[in-house]
Subunit: 249 residues, 2 copies
């Protein structure tokens, strides 16, 4: 058996999410089927993060064990061949040792939430960003975002369905970058609560519109009550950017 | 009558091109219908450039005369409202005087041709870039591109169907930018021949692959023979970026 680390990119739009489900096509199922078509082996993929329906990935990581003796380039090309026409691609393949686990060995995850802030509706970026027509103040958003950096109880930003044992997480970075019509919120942490990034994005958008202040965000965080923070931003704008392992495999 | 300058963004994928045609939906028809729905007026739009089927725009410019008395924001919002769900948006509206003509007053046009250069197939950028799997040498592409800058007879890079009176054009800029997996070819000129940018992109791609040299591109240009230059790159990667007027209206 050889363990392979796969880095995956996908358009989350047509999928019910990463995880295999009965109610529609999942990314996991698409990749597992492609692996079976190429290797003849029925496998279970383990991913670093179970992205929700509609959420995209540029650097999702998953691992799989294959009995078939082959090389990394062949694994990549063969899976990609059998994935067509699904909008999923293996962008990197590395052989790793048996200790490596895509989810449990991960030391760092980076997400990006993209907002297109303009009066006109979306064309080329439909399904790829959150369209916000009211002008947003990115500096105010960054100021409020600073209040969320560090170790906190994020109950106010946690989905009811979240299965994490603890609501306490450490945000290592939370940046609001303004570039032309686009505002990108980049968040980095060892791990995240369910909907945490989208709930932060939905809250910061209210700050950007001038409806909320940094003090309001601080109060919402301190309240440890989901109903006190902003709404969940749409899945369209969210990207799993990168998963980091130490040492890098 | 008021003359309005519209700046348009669109995903060219679902269209037969800018120009109204019998064989399918055109961008021109979509916008003219939206204007009629909002104003009750049957109008003809004049565009700066007649983009081909599948070609995108971030900054196409068109003008239209309307009898209806209104303001720029209303023109923008009303056309955008009636354009839905077509992937076309009016991103800017300015009132101009009767001397302004979107096509004939233009002094400068900028196109970009985007290539995604990687082994893995496309996911999020499907339909938005040209996927080239073989590694490209962007520096070699820029070196060959330099040979095309300036005033030349571009017969070798001109489509057979081109209706321009002269094959002589002046390329003011031709830049090859390499950023991660993406290679962007930016071309600027007062005006272009039919397929000129895509024929240049198809030729520079051969240089990037090492199949052609700068000397080969120079010889192709000098030959004034379409069969001597490279193939026409796919429409997916081409964007009309910007049209400039002097003085700016």
């Amino acid at each position: 058996m050889t363990r392979w680390k796969l880095t995956l990119e996908y358009d989350g739009g047509p999928f019910v999410g990463w995880q295999r489900q009965d109610n529609g096509p999942s990314v996991q199922e698409a990749v597992e089927k492609a692996i079976r078509a190429f290797s003849g082996e029925t496998v279970t993929l383990h991913a670093a993060g179970r992205t929700d329906a509609g959420v995209h990935a540029l650097g999702q990581v998953a691992h799989v064990d294959l009995a078939k003796s082959t090389d990394a380039d062949t694994v990549q090309d063969a899976i990609n061949f059998h994935l067509k026409p699904a909008p999923v691609a293996v962008v990197d393949v590395v052989e790793v040792d048996d200790e490596f686990h895509a989810r449990f060995s991960a030391t760092h995850r980076a997400y990006r939430y993209r907002i297109l802030n303009r009066r006109a509706p979306l064309t080329l970026l439909a399904g790829r960003v959150w369209h916000v027509a009211a002008p947003l103040d990115a500096a105010a958003m960054q100021d409020a975002a600073d209040a969320l950096i560090g170790n906190h109880d994020f109950t106010s930003f946690r989905a009811a369905a979240c299965q994490a044992k603890s609501p306490v997480k450490t945000l290592d970075a939370l940046r609001v970058d303004h570039n032309g019509e686009e505002i990108a919120i980049t968040v980095e942490a060892r791990s995240f609560l369910h909907h945490q990034v989208r709930n932060i994005a939905g809250t910061l958008k209210l700050v950007g519109e001038g409806k909320w202040t940094r003090a309001g965000v601080e109060a919402a965080l301190a309240a440890r009550d989901r109903s006190r923070a902003g709404p969940t931003a749409p899945a369209d704008g969210l990207y799993l950017m990168r998963v980091t392992y130490d040492p890098s495999p």
